[in-house]
């Protein structure tokens, strides 16, 4: 990125605006389409999906349930009925295939809010803010399960902005708009990516799930990287890029294996040199140039 330039300027020049925003557009389409499926019932009377992200029923047959909500139900001392268990299992398997935090970047409505805050933050040159650990989300995840266990109540769902907003959009918002504004202001003024990248226990849970997920972003052509830093600028979890992008010398493979990677594909979009591409965890081979010999060896990491 040129000094003072906007990330992705080079990519727009190379691939055109659409090409440099391909996954961003697809993600917004995905987020809005899923929301649209839920809203088509109450708004238009077309009942394809009933319920909300906590638990839903598609076409009257396919149950889907949020595994984290069910985990809280378990913690509070209740055994959910089979419909919810089957639904959670389907969701678990799905995210184990496509990446846990795909929930965050392709489904969650709060992501649109926090992405907007981050975009504004960049445009308005708002720097700095509160410095708290991105491990806080794990503490929070533990805390909400603890509260559920001690109180015997799914307490987190009383305040969870993620489920609150989705339920609000489908069933009636009440004062939930205030929570949306709060999350927006938090990300805009208090800390960069404060909610999704540091606090949200829902993201923390899906991040843990994503540690083992199959679908991955990989720096497949990392030798082309010209250190423009555009990918770091747009990545919501930019700490995940470096090991894969810059790990060639250390024998680290090009696949981003961190569970925090949301598979949003923004790095693929903004890279003018097409360094990144979607891949799987099984193609994480590092080509190490062995010194003294003119041959390449495959090292799996």
């Amino acid at each position: 990125m040129e000094p003072g330039g906007r990330p992705g300027a080079e990519a727009i020049k190379q691939k055109g605006w659409i090409g440099a925003h391909r996954f961003l557009i697809l993600r917004r389409v995905s987020q809005l389409a899923i929301l649209g499926l839920f809203l088509a019932g109450p708004w238009l009377g077309i009942w394809i999906v009933e319920g909300n992200l906590a638990s839903s029923l598609t076409l009257g047959v396919l149950p889907l349930s949020d595994p984290l909500v069910l985990l809280q139900v378990f913690a509070s001392g209740h055994l959910p009925a089979s419909a919810a268990l089957i639904g959670a299992l389907i969701v678990l398997i799905f995210y184990l295939l496509v990446g846990g935090r795909v929930y965050c970047s392709w489904v969650c409505p709060i992501n649109i809010v926090t992405d907007l805050a981050e975009w504004l933050r960049r445009r308005l040159h708002i720097k700095g803010g509160a410095n708290f650990s991105d491990k806080t989300r794990y503490w929070l995840l533990g805390a909400i399960l603890l509260v559920a266990a001690v109180a015997g109540s799914v307490a987190w769902e009383l305040v969870n902005p993620v489920s609150m907003v989705y339920r609000g959009l489908v069933f009636g918002m009440g004062l939930a708009w205030g929570v949306v504004v709060a999350v927006f202001l938090l990300d805009l003024f208090i800390g960069r990516r404060a909610w999704c990248g540091h606090l949200c226990p829902v993201g923390a849970f899906y991040g843990l799930l994503g540690e083992g997920a199959v679908l991955r972003v990989a720096a497949v052509r990392r030798e082309r990287c010209d250190d423009c830093m555009d990918c770091f600028a747009v990545c919501p979890e930019h700490q995940v890029i470096k090991p894969a992008l810059k790990g060639a010398d250390k024998g680290v493979g090009p696949v981003i294996l961190s569970g925090h990677c949301t598979n949003c594909g923004r790095c693929i979009d903004v890279c003018g040199r097409d360094v990144f591409a979607f891949s799987t965890r099984y193609s994480n081979h590092s080509r190490l140039v062995v010194p003294g010999a003119n041959q390449k060896s495959e090292v799996s990491s």
């Binding site: 029923l57 919810a84 559920a148 339920r167």
Partner: protein
């Protein structure tokens, strides 16, 4: 500062910063968790007008089992159920209804219970008459016009379990001296808490209201036994033996219990048991439509 690392100032500073951040996170999360714990306790206080769907367990249990998905709301054909929104008095996202707004129509197939994916609405509830969503209570005897001696009986007539959940007791009208009061009495053994009586109450503010069971129902001490019930069950008195009461009366007088009372100066003749009185004709036909269609009625 901990032992070790004294030698390298850089490491010490880094460690101090790390500990500082970790401590801040832990304290912050601790505060959040405590607040959340307090908040969820308050959220357990269900307002008196909020009635849970059929099959919901007690409030504490229900809030642990319900995942706030709204599938029961979606499958309610009468728009009775709604999910609590942020700012409502009811725990966020949980289903409830207000009887005065839209009461429960008591569907035979109980679709809300069938829709529940977690079993927070008990799937064992298959007979809607066994639901106990709440209990109707005649809360205001001053306002209820039946207590004024006026004929109303709307709650009695709209009750889906007519003649069992609400009965009418006849009492003497002291004001007029020659009429009866038709007093509605709710029976918890049959009332499902559907709220149709509260909805139908003709007053500006309903005199009969459905409350959550925990608010509406009293409990006789668990150890308490009603003597006459025990006696009926056992077929004989269990405490004191059944013996005819001995009246200590002067010569020539006797007492006829449940009959003429004290009788003086009559030669003892075998007491003639009075003929059993005819059961009073009920002014209420079994079919509520008969009431409505009665000539001159309404």
């Amino acid at each position: 500062m901990s032992k070790g690392d004294k030698g390298s100032g850089g490491l010490d500073a880094a460690r101090r910063r790390f500990l500082g951040i970790a401590l801040r996170s832990a304290v912050g999360v601790g505060l959040v968790a405590t607040t959340l714990g307090v908040y969820q306790r308050q959220a357990r206080a269900l307002p008196a007008t909020a009635i849970r769907p059929p099959g919901a367990a007690d409030e504490r249990s229900f809030q642990g089992a319900c995942i706030r998905c709204g599938l029961c709301v979606r499958d309610c054909p009468y728009d009775t159920l709604k999910l609590a929104q942020l700012g409502d008095d009811v725990a966020l996202g949980t289903p409830y209804f207000e009887a005065r707004r839209i009461p429960c129509e008591m569907c035979d197939d109980i679709p809300c219970v069938k829709a529940c994916p977690t079993g927070a609405l008990d799937p064992a509830l298959t007979e809607i008459d066994n639901a106990r969503m709440g209990l109707a209570v005649v809360v205001d005897q001053e306002a209820c016009i039946a207590f004024q001696g006026l004929r109303c009986e709307v709650c009695f007539n709209v009750c889906p379990i007519r003649g069992e959940a609400i009965t009418l007791n006849y009492r003497h009208n002291d004001r007029s001296g020659r009429h009866a009061l038709f007093i509605p009495i709710v029976h918890s053994r049959a009332c499902t808490g559907c709220g149709k009586c509260e909805k139908a109450c003709i007053l500006e503010e309903a005199a009969i209201k459905v409350f959550p069971m925990a608010l509406a129902k009293g409990l006789l001490g668990r150890h308490y036994r009603l003597g006459w019930e025990q006696k009926a069950e056992a077929g004989k008195a269990l405490v004191t033996p059944d013996a005819p009461h001995q009246y200590n009366l002067p010569e020539g007088a006797r007492y006829e219990h449940g009959g003429r009372g004290l009788i003086v100066g009559e030669r003892s003749s075998p007491p003639v048991p009075p003929a059993a009185p005819e059961p009073p004709m009920s002014p209420f036909p079994a079919d509520p439509l008969d009431t409505l269609n009665r000539k001159g009625g309404l």
